[in-house]
Symmetry: C2
Subunit: 339 residues, 2 copies
């Protein structure tokens, strides 16, 4: 393989300036003679010169249309679908999405964010439960860089796409109340981010409004935010006496279903389970999961479109776009009956 | 938010050259006076200057340690785990992995590859079933850029991590033969990449060596490479008369299990199913899936380490690292019995 040829090499070989080469190769060389243009193009082909992204960015100040997408964990189905939504818009709009998956590590999130800023990207989509607007602005070093927030950013300001988590919690409770259940459990996680708290609040308020008991001390279990976490909580869930369980998300619910199956606890006959998100997997597990639907793919599409809008028009005003949630009833919930 | 401050602004304000600012800010300014150094650092803090990645890359020629990772679809569990392996090494080695998910679109794969080259990245991990070494070298414009191939690159040369797909097919057949099955089916996909062909060859050869019938025309079904594809193939599988099915991968198997369940065909009592990959999900579905294990996370770790090795030492010789496969027996397979 040959050594990398730079724009300077081409300029030297052609006996012209770097600016001339740059303008000719970028189709802006009409003011130069035909022979100069042809000489440069011939050298480019001869040496298989590829314009250097860095150099071009500095010299041409052209719009490179790159967006950074920071997600907690790209291998979670939820964020996988979100990223697919981003990618669909990216393909249509000839954007390049750079995906950074920071594993829910705030230090890593900050480091990646700073890296994105250094890369002179055009905009950012940030899905982070723990970064505050202040932390983000600090990482962006107060640059005029458009960004949009996604997921778990309740306590924040800034342009974002959002669903109504409180209403999602209400829908889950309403469904289980209608099925006649009387003892409820919220399977939460150790670190309850604001959106999880909202779901819990909507769930609890609806139960209390129906004269049903729910106590934050006794009726909230905590586990790890993963399938494994749901799986490990099964024994505690089974011995809680609850017949209706609302989980923080579908991944946790899927783990719980596995754990209950191994303990020979029948779902939904003995315990009803409601998840959250409506990831594609819900229809493939057994029993198919009743859940609260979030339009995940559409959230990815929407976030990217709003971001593009901001990149193009440099809108300054805050913008919040709401997406609806709804109950999807499948087979993991059933009417309460005394066992 | 403030306007972006450049290194030129800092140089002008300090009354020194850009090179001086650059060297001081990069900790290489010992040959300048203490007052110059302090002046520059003070201006940096005052204007919240962030070194520009592009400028720095051009001026300092320092190693930025960025690797590009091209995968077909980051939202598939298989590639999700692979990327997690890459990220683990990246965190340890302070690398930045840029993830590009090209949706199995060869044009998009080529475009992304060219983008990565333009970004002056330090190395590449390419997981693509369809790109040949020739296409890759063309996209890299014959630069001296280390890259490593992963997954579905049988017919190619070049440094790569690899598992033995032929042996995987043998293991699946051996297991089903030992269970007494006599009529077999390979649930393949419309575009059989080389690694899928290898699995089929190992499967078929083992059956024939055991005096069992297998015919490429009748005993290979084709569907889409996805859970949905497996789901849609269920009716054809059920009516094929086969009691033992080997699928191209776990995603397809998981879809098939759902489809068979909806058709009231019992697994494993009526049909045994063997998947391929051993994605984490296999233990969470029902019945838990018997499959051929590939060390997916380890493949991500291994690919990244080999790539780093090449970046650091600029090794030129081809390197192929093999990772073992093995049968993982769960509950989707059972002894054949006449129904």
């Amino acid at each position: 393989m040959g050594k990398k040829v730079t724009i300077r090499d081409i300029a030297r070989l052609a006996g012209v300036s770097v600016t001339t080469v740059s303008q000719v190769l970028n189709g802006k060389g009409n003011r130069f003679s035909k022979s100069t243009r042809e000489k440069i193009l011939k050298l480019r082909d001869e040496y298989q010169y590829v314009p250097d992204f860095h150099a071009r960015s500095l010299i041409m100040k052209e719009n490179i249309n790159t967006i950074g997408v920071l997600v907690p964990n790209v291998s979670e189905p939820f964020f996988g679908s979100f990223v697919e939504g981003v990618q669909q818009v990216a393909r249509q709009e000839k954007l390049i999405p750079l995906i950074f998956s920071a594993n829910r590590d705030p230090k890593l999130e900050k480091a990646y964010l700073e890296q994105m800023v250094e890369r002179s990207i055009d905009g950012l989509i940030i899905a982070s439960a723990r970064m505050t607007t202040e932390m983000i602005n600090q990482a962006l070093a107060n640059r005029e860089l458009p960004y949009i927030l996604f997921d778990r950013n309740y306590d924040q300001v800034g342009t974002r796409v959002q669903t109504d988590d409180y209403h999602g919690g209400q829908l889950a409770a309403q469904h289980l109340v209608e099925l006649g259940h009387q003892k409820f459990l919220y399977l939460g996680v150790n670190y309850l981010t604001e959106n999880f708290k909202q779901r819990l609040a909507g769930f609890k308020d609806t139960l209390l409004a129906n004269q049903l008991a729910f106590n934050d001390e006794e009726d909230v279990l905590r586990t790890d935010l993963s399938r494994q976490g749901g799986y490990e909580a099964a024994r505690a869930v089974a011995s809680s006496g609850a017949t209706a369980v609302f989980t923080v998300n579908d991944d946790v619910a899927i783990g719980l279903l596995r754990g209950l199956r191994e303990l020979k606890v029948r779902v939904p006959e003995e315990i009803s389970v409601v998840g959250y998100d409506d990831i594609a997997l819900d229809e493939y597990i057994y029993p198919p999961l009743t859940t609260i639907h979030q339009p995940i793919f559409d959230l990815g599409v929407g976030a990217t479109k709003i971001l593009l809008d901001r990149i193009d028009h440099k809108r300054q005003s805050e913008q919040v776009e709401h997406f609806p949630v709804r109950l999807v009833r499948r087979e993991s919930t059933a009417p309460y009956r005394m066992v």
